[in-house]
């Protein structure tokens, strides 16, 4: 793979959402398609309701930790976390994010306020060349499980062409790497994402 196809993807979400599972699914799908893959995760204390971040590097990058301004693509599983991760995006990069907030405790308790979605979107649009928000929780629930909402996000990124991974590859990845009982809902989530993007484009 030539160096101009090298991609750095930053994943962010909230502990318990399945951010690392989604990273791993995309990473294994990439390897199955003979792409050079390195992924980086942080486990442990952060997983107790904190922010969970991971990276996926395609095409020969080796650094398992990204700095600000390095990601070509941000996949955000929660809108506030997408905004928090925005400094990691290079100018002109792409952002795909869930539009379903999971308010942090300080917001739930009324101590601080959650930024409204328009602010989040406009902040992102100042940096990103492409910014797509999807109702992942709604589509995931419709597909059969909240967690399959993560696949909605992966599918949207694959469908956009920013990744060297197509929807068919992702579909194959789901069938190969996810436990059988989760396959149907995740394949359905993939279809729902495709349909949602089509209707949104019209």
């Amino acid at each position: 793979m030539s160096q101009d196809k090298r991609l750095r993807i930053f994943f962010t979400g909230v502990g318990g959402q399945g951010t690392l599972t989604a990273t791993n699914l995309l990473a294994r799908t990439a390897l199955m398609n003979n792409l050079e893959v390195v992924a980086g995760e942080v486990h442990g204390m952060a997983q107790r309701g904190g922010v969970v971040e991971s990276v996926l590097l395609l095409g020969g990058w080796r650094s398992p930790k990204l700095d600000h301004g390095e990601a070509d693509l941000i996949l955000g599983f929660e809108p506030l976390e997408t905004l928090r991760a925005l400094p990691y995006l290079r100018h002109g990069g792409s952002v795909f994010s869930s539009s379903d907030p999971l308010p942090p405790l300080s917001v739930s308790l009324g101590v601080s306020s959650y930024p409204d979605l328009e602010t989040i979107q406009s902040d992102i649009q100042k940096v990103a060349s492409q910014c797509t928000f999807l109702p992942c929780r709604e589509l995931g629930t419709k597909a059969g499980s909240v967690q399959s909402g993560n696949t909605v996000l992966l599918a949207a990124a694959c469908a956009s062409g920013v990744l060297p991974i197509t929807l068919e590859m992702l579909s194959q990845g789901i069938k190969t790497f996810l436990p059988e009982k989760h396959q149907a809902s995740n394949l359905e989530a993939l279809k729902l994402a495709e349909a949602y993007l089509k209707s949104a484009a019209q």
């Binding site: 160096q3 909230v14 502990g15 791993n24 990473a27 294994r28 390897l31 050079e36 893959v37 390195v38 992924a39 980086g40 995760e41 942080v42 486990h43 442990g44 204390m45 952060a46 997983q47 107790r48 309701g49 904190g50 922010v51 990058w61 080796r62 650094s63 398992p64 930790k65 990204l66 700095d67 600000h68 301004g69 390095e70 506030l80 976390e81 905004l83 928090r84 925005l86 400094p87 990691y88 995006l89 290079r90 100018h91 308010p103 942090p104 405790l105 300080s106 917001v107 739930s108 308790l109 009324g110 601080s112 306020s113 959650y114 930024p115 902040d123 100042k126 940096v127 499980s145 909240v146």
Partner: protein, 620 residues
């Protein structure tokens, strides 16, 4: 169930593995016979993976009660001829250092590899000590992988070396390497290694002073051989370009950042590289030649400046006329390296502009999302009770586990902490010279780890302390690994349950009570009774970790809490119990049914405000 993919016998098979899983594969390829550990991030997945894959009878393994014990069990097994692995996080090696230093003298014929998973950046740790220092101090050959594939290959090589030299070998990873995923190509999977029959040899294995003096010389000889091996090691790679006098020496994860920085800067042809994977003993011949062939050398290593200092000393010894650079204000001994930091360092060294693009400015006004005790966490109600009884009057001596998060407001249940087990002994010392009541909190696994010795000491020396043992029946923070306090039915065969209350009483503590962590009135009553009593008082607050209860024990409460009245108590409960399942719905307090675990502690805090209702559907 079929064989686990990690046990694949297909040579050349390629799998995407976590660094820690790759270590497991490397150990299997070496034929590992025995694995011991104490769990600790970022090392835990190694032994958890060994547990999960079962191993077809290839190896024995155990979760030991602490790192020193794990080290000693592994050393004993290696002495009896087994190829042994012991895994721990960096601070665990402090606990295990005693047997380590001496078994390096006696040697271990079966072969012992020690995994130390360091945590630069303190992702899940109380310090960022660099355990390459132990390699130097205890005289251990050391491998430092920088990719998942290297984690496999170097683990395999570390075992071969450990058995060849009969010396303990250090495999040192960092968080980023342990938790990196990458393609790993499998080597053949042999049967478990043949054990080396034990030869009775007290004048080697019983380190009386006269024996130890001789063994020190034997150790030095072994390390001399290791140095020759390091000079030939395929993990120490030189990449040369004919024209340059600039050279970079790099080790560990810094090699990854360097590789990307060189490509990003367009500097690949500008420098020669000497990348070190087997980093101790120093490959002196290789290094000497490299130093003599270059006029300027930059040393890149995350963490301490061990390699830089050694290279400087080597230059002096061999009389190499070369400018050495390393740590500076860009690349310090603090935190983690990164590609852009290495780029900035290289640009400074090359005296050229740094081609880094400006990054978006971070917003500082976003609501934070710090880790927190889970909804229904049994520690929350205990902390709430303690705050009710002691307020700010007591001093809170905390320990290591999920419950350290009790430091967060509104609980504020941690005033100090040193290390695993220190809550009891540190609290004992504090109370000796303080007028204040000292309340110590320790979890079940940490109690077995090194709290028991502190308690024995506290009884022996007649300290005054109120000890709360937060017994949630598992090693929660690191991923629910077994410990002796775990229920027998959860432990299964092969492990025996130890009863904490019996231990406490056997130590001579007569003031000991056990209360359910969800019984708020019982907790407050016990703490109030204990408050002004002299001597050692132990309250065991018992209730399984809510995640463990749900995932492993299959227990889930049928009811959840619901707000039925908005009043001052409702708001006080929100503020003082601060369960993550609470949220504000406009002006009203509400409970998120998906998050509520059904512990019903809020009903006890504010009986008029909440009631139990049947859970509707909810999360799977």
């Amino acid at each position: 169930m079929g064989k686990h993919p990690l046990l694949s016998e297909k040579r050349g098979e390629k799998q995407l593995l976590l660094g820690n899983e790759a270590i497991v594969r490397g150990a299997l390829e070496a034929g590992v016979n025995m694995i011991t550990c104490y769990p600790g991030t970022p090392s835990s997945e190694v032994v958890d993976t060994f547990r999960r894959i079962g191993g077809d009878g290839r190896y024995k393994m155990e979760y030991s009660v602490n790192e020193k014990v794990a080290m000693e069990v592994a050393c004993g097994a290696a002495l009896a001829g087994a190829m042994s692995l012991v895994t721990m996080k960096h601070v665990g090696l402090n606990v295990a250092a005693d047997p380590l230093f001496t078994t390096a003298y006696t040697g271990l014929p079966g072969g012992l590899v020690i995994l130390s998973a360091d945590d630069p950046g303190c992702h899940s740790s109380q310090n960022e000590q660099d355990n390459r220092g132990y390699a130097r101090m205890a005289h251990l050959p050391c491998f430092e992988p920088a990719s998942a594939e290297e984690a496999r290959a170097m683990t395999r090589a570390a075992f071969a070396l450990a058995r060849d030299l009969q010396q303990p070998v250090l495999l040192r990873t960092t968080t980023r390497v342990s938790h990196m995923r990458g393609a790993v190509t499998f080597h053949t999977l042999p049967q478990a290694a043949q054990t080396v029959p034990f030869q009775r040899e007290p004048m080697r294995y019983v380190p009386l002073p006269a024996v130890a003096r001789k063994r020190h010389a034997a150790l030095n000889n072994a390390m001399q051989r290791a140095q020759e091996i390091a000079d030939q090691s395929p993990f120490n790679i030189e990449t040369s370009h004919a024209e340059t006098k600039l050279g970079i020496i790099a080790s560990g994860v810094a090699r990854d950042y360097l590789a990307d920085a060189l490509i990003s800067g367009g500097w690949t042809d500008k420098v020669d590289l000497l990348e070190l994977g087997m980093t101790w003993p120093l490959p002196e011949k290789k290094l000497s030649a490299f130093l003599k062939n270059h006029s300027h050398v930059l040393v890149l290593e995350e963490g301490a400046d061990f390699l830089e200092r050694d290279v400087r000393a080597l230059c002096q010894r061999i009389g190499a006329d070369v400018s050495i650079e390393g740590k500076d204000e860009i690349l310090t001994d603090m935190g983690e390296y990164s590609r852009s930091l290495v780029m900035q360092r290289l640009a400074k060294w090359f005296s050229c502009p740094c081609p880094l693009n400006p990054a978006p400015t971070p917003r500082t006004d976003l609501p934070g999302r710090p880790p927190n005790l889970c909804p229904g966490c049994s520690h929350r109600s205990v902390y709430y009770a303690a705050r009710q009884v002691f307020g700010d009057e007591a001093i809170y001596s905390s320990d290591i586990g999920c419950y350290t998060l009790g430091v967060v407001p509104p609980m504020r249940m941690a005033d100090f902490l040193f290390c695993m087990g220190s809550s009891i002994s540190g609290g004992s010392g504090f109370s000796e010279v303080s007028e204040k009541t000292v309340v110590s909190f320790i979890g079940d696994s940490t109690f077995f780890h090194s709290g028991m010795t502190g308690l024995a000491n506290a009884v022996f020396n007649q300290h005054k302390l109120l000890l709360v043992i937060l017994d949630n029946g598992t090693t929660a923070m690191t991923g629910h690994q077994p410990n002796p306090g775990m229920l027998q039915e959860a432990l299964g065969e092969g492990c025996s349950h130890l009863d904490i209350e019996q231990i406490v009483r056997a130590f001579g503590v007569s003031q000991c009570k056990k209360v359910s962590s969800y019984n708020l009135r019982g907790l407050i009553k016990a703490m109030t009774e204990f408050k002004d009593l002299p001597g050692i008082r132990v309250l065991i607050a018992q209730e399984p970790c809510v995640l463990y209860a749900r995932r492993t024990l299959g227990k889930r409460q049928p009811n959840v809490a619901q707000v039925v009245e908005q009043n001052d108590d409702t708001r006080r409960c929100l503020k003082e119990l601060a369960c993550p399942a609470f949220y504000m719905k406009g002006e009203d307090v509400a409970v998120d049914q998906n998050l509520c675990s059904g512990c019903m502690v809020c009903l006890q805090v504010a009986p008029k405000s909440f009631k139990a209702v049947k859970r509707e559907g909810g999360r799977p």
